[in-house]
Structure formats: structure tokens, C-alpha cells
Symmetry: C2
Subunit: 345 residues, 2 copies
Amino acid sequence: MSLRSEIFNQVSVIDRLLQRRMGVVQDIAAEICKRDIQFIFLAARGTSDNAGLYAKYLWGAFNQLPIALAAPSLFSIYEKPPALKNALVLGISQSGQSPDIVSVVAEGRRQGVSTMAITNDPGSPLAQEAEFVIDLDTGPEKAVAATKTYTAQLMAIAMFSVAMKGDKKRLLDLERVPVLIQQVLELDDTIERVAERYRYMQQCVVLGRGYNYSTAFEWSLKLKELAYVVAEPYSSADFQHGPMAILSHGFPVFAVVPQGAVFADMMELLSTLVRDCSVELLVVSNEGQVLELAQTPLRIPTNLPEWLSPIVCIVPAQLFSFHLTQARGFDTEKPRGLRKVTLTR
Amino acid sequence: MSLRSEIFNQVSVIDRLLQRRMGVVQDIAAEICKRDIQFIFLAARGTSDNAGLYAKYLWGAFNQLPIALAAPSLFSIYEKPPALKNALVLGISQSGQSPDIVSVVAEGRRQGVSTMAITNDPGSPLAQEAEFVIDLDTGPEKAVAATKTYTAQLMAIAMFSVAMKGDKKRLLDLERVPVLIQQVLELDDTIERVAERYRYMQQCVVLGRGYNYSTAFEWSLKLKELAYVVAEPYSSADFQHGPMAILSHGFPVFAVVPQGAVFADMMELLSTLVRDCSVELLVVSNEGQVLELAQTPLRIPTNLPEWLSPIVCIVPAQLFSFHLTQARGFDTEKPRGLRKVTLTR
């Protein structure tokens, strides 16, 4: 299956995950809720690490859980792991193979704390080490650049959040995600056309904040992996604490700005960047005010709850990365220097 | 005081911090040790956030403390802060002014948990909210790009680690840091010369791992703030999980590779990058084997303990960023678009 068909496959992958796995997720959540979990200790790399950023905001906001992102080398190279008392140790990995991620979950088990894996391979070393496993069940992901396993990871994270709270209103929201993805996939022709403009772009920044901090990271990663563009992700706040200095006239700024709590903050920053630095904007949003600022506006559906917006907003970003790669004449199926499964210590 | 003099001022700043503040840090550590702290919850932005990465590795490895990096917008914009039971909430900020960082520490206080500030202004809002304060006492930092307050933050983090363990051997190591910084400052002429080569560089990646993951981030930030180079920081492991695809013949790779536990891993990656991708290397190291791989080797002192190496390794990186900025004809004292104190929500 090609990258393109895996992108389009996301509607059914997400729907199937929700239909088949919500029961298991609810059982896991019920068991976890009985324990005195005070924080999540999360290990992941690459795309899975970007999914972890979504968990950091979502579980922080709705489940009051602080998230510590593990430094896997403390486990695998320095062999000086921290004390994990009262943690839920979570590994996220498509393949479940990378030794450094497995070593974090194994250490959690050794210390006798709760452990969980979110993976596409329930037979993997990661799944075998973990007490609880959420199987993403997306079918094999053949393309080197992850797409459907990323949205499936986000969906699993959202399902776990809802299950931990037993929240019926948000469960109904979850059921709308496949249709929302279907709607943004209809942008495909538009995105193919607008990608042309960026044929000679060498570098860009990608801005997101709050829940969509994850989207900024994942979009940047796709641009690097596939189109070989040096794309740097930032929260709108971190960007102002230094990196903003790189901007000059016409510098491309991509921004993920759905309606929600961080909208006003992002809108203010983008207006300033256009006014003071004459940057060029590509915007993914469902709010006319910010779309009007952009040379390249990509309009996504309204009535999209902010907490679920990362699962939807990444899809036009995937399509953009795919089409830009084709416009630049690179092979979307064989990114140079990469393999599907990366084993790091 | 200019950026250059603040860089050279670091020898006396670090020495004074150790001499004047170790007692206070030991008192704070003694009090913290009596409490049941299970993790650190850290809020910081920009350079201070990079110092936080050092804390993540150092306190993880030597003090067995997991570190959660806060998502300040959960406090300031979403107003849905996580539960901080058994956390030590720590704000790091040169100015102690940014409302989002202050709001995280204020929430810690509201929830009745331990709070600490590391700041250059003991009269700042951040210091006023915190139960414990480590005053960096560097004198005013006038340059927009932070240098001496960064190394002072790292030193305070190292002092706190030593104080928490009551570790006499490592206390002696701490006392050698000012001399080690003095030694790397002597690279100034060399660095001024080699910076010429990078006059037309538009982008680069900066690699570090373990303790020096922080150095990769801080070096990248200086390159962006001062020289307007799109510099991207990575751990050697994360880099292999996707971003490596951006490399092409002659792509500039900067690497921080002192002797230590992660050396072999970094050496292996850099050898591969040279062999398979023909990248161009600039290396900061005290190990001949990796310096020989590099077009631009920067040799730092041997007998540098790995756990303290970030405080020393960042200094040639600061000098490099300074000289590159001059070579490119930009103003080292007035980075465009930045102010010394950035107030983000």
C-alpha cells in the first residue's frame, strides 16, 4: 500500500479503532483508575513522540495527569533510570521494536509500577513488556513515513482520556472524527495545486500551540522526511523567546490555528509577523479571520472540538507533504536514509 | 556590557555562584529531601528551557528524579492545570517575568506543593511566588542573547544535584568548572578564524545526546537568535527516527561529543553520516578519533567529567555564534525582532 492510500485509509482505520477497541480501552482505564497514578512517564521516538505531545496536553487538561517525557538514554546507555513510584510508564511505538523504548517500559515493570504500550504490533517486544496494551490494529503500515499509525495513536490517546473520565459527551465527539477526516481529505485537489508554490522552498517554520503543538511537530517531521525541507516546529510562545529572529521578508510560516482557546494568542502573533516581518503564511484553520491573512489558506470543517482538532488538522498537512514531495521530484515511498523500523539504543 | 564581555565574564560568574550560593542551595536541598518529592514539574522558555533539559538528564541520572516539562498554556490559557501532588514545581527564568512561567509556580503554591525558582532577579514575580529561590547573582545581563545566565542556570542545577546527594567527590568537580571555562575561552582566536567558513551557511543541524542534548538546543538557539541561521537541534537517536532524511552532500552537521557514556553511540552515527551522506562536520570534543572526522574540529580540555560537560561545551558554541554573526555582518547586540524580556501568556 502506498503513502497516498495510507493517508486516505485513515477514515476507516480510525473508525475501526473506535468500534473495535473502545471496550478494551475502557477496561484498561477502569483498572488504572483504581491505582494511585500521579504522573505518566512516556517513552517514544519520532512520530510516536509527536503523538506523546498530544497526550501531554490532553491528559493534562482533561485528566489532570502531568506527563514526563522519558530520556531513554538514561535507561539504555547511562543505566541510571529515575525512580518511577506512582507513575504509569507508557511506551508508544508503531513497530514496538526500538530497544531504547522497550528498555524504559521494562524498567517500569522491574520497579513494579503500572506499564502500558500503544503499538501497531501486539506481538512486539514492547507489547510483551507492558502490562496493558492498546493495539492500534491499523493493518501493516508499508510507507516509511508514518501517517495512519500517527492518527491512530492520537485516537487511542483521546479514547483513553474519555475512558478515564467516563465522559459520555466526549464519547459522542469521538464518533464524529472519521467523518471529519473524510471531509478534510476532500481538500486533496486544492492541496495538490497549492503545493506547487513551495517547489523551491528550502526551509520554513511550523507553528501550533496547545493541543496542536503536536501537529506542528508532526507536520515538520513529514516535511523533513519526505520533501527534505528544513522545517522547524514551535509553539507560538517558544517561538517568541528567541527563534523568531530568523524571520525575514517572505520567510514561509505554516500555522495550525483551529478555533479554540489558543486562537486569539496565535492570531495576535501571526498578525504581528505579517505586519512587522512580512512573512508568507500558509494557514490550516476553520476561522475566516486568520485564513484571510494567509497567501495559502486551507479551510477545515467548523464544529471541530479543539481537543480533537490534532487528529483532523494533521491530514491536510500529510497531503501537503505528499504533494510537495511529488512537486520536488522525490520518491514518496523511499525517503533517503530511512528505514521503516529504526532501532536506537 | 556587550555580548562578548558577558561570554568572557562567565569564569567569574560561575566561580562567584559556587562560592556565594552553595550554602543556600544546600539548605534548600536539605529541606526538599525531607519531603516526599516524586517528580519535578518544570516550567521555562527559550534558553531557560534548554537549561531544563540538562536538569532532566542530571537529576534523572544522579538523583533518580523524573522531570515533567510543563505545558504552560494548560495553566495560563486553558486554565486546566494538572494535579501536582508530590511534585516539586520549578520555574527557571532569567528575568522571572514571563506570566506563563509565573502561573505554573503560582498553581503549585495554590495546590500546596513545593515550589522553587531559579532566576537572576530575586525580586521578580517568579521569585515572589516560589517557596525556595536560587538567585543566580550574575549581575545584569544586557545582551539580548543569554549566555552567562545560561551557564549560571546549568551550574545552579549541578549544585542542586550535588547538594541533594551530599556528594563530596562531585563537589570537588564543581570547583574545577571555572578553570575549564577559562581554558575553552582560549579557543576564541581559532573560532573567529573558522567561523569564516560558515559565512554563507543558511541551515544546519546540531547533534548532542544525553547531558549535551541541552547543548545542542542552546547552540541552535544562539545560531538562530544571533546569526539567523535555521539550526535544528536533535539527539542522535531522534535524528535517526526521520529527520536524517534532510541530509545531502556537504550538509553542515555540528556535533557536541565529549568523552563519556554516549560517545560510542555518537561516534558511530557521525561516521555513518560522513560515509553515507558526505556531510560536513564541525565537532566540539576532547576525543581525537571524532575530531579527525571533522572539517572543523574544536578541541576542548580532557579530564572533563561528562556530567559537567554541558557547562563547558556551550562556551565554544557561544563564541562560534558570536563570530559567525559578525562574519555575516549582523549586530550581536540587537537581534532583530527580539527583546530581552519576553512576556508570553
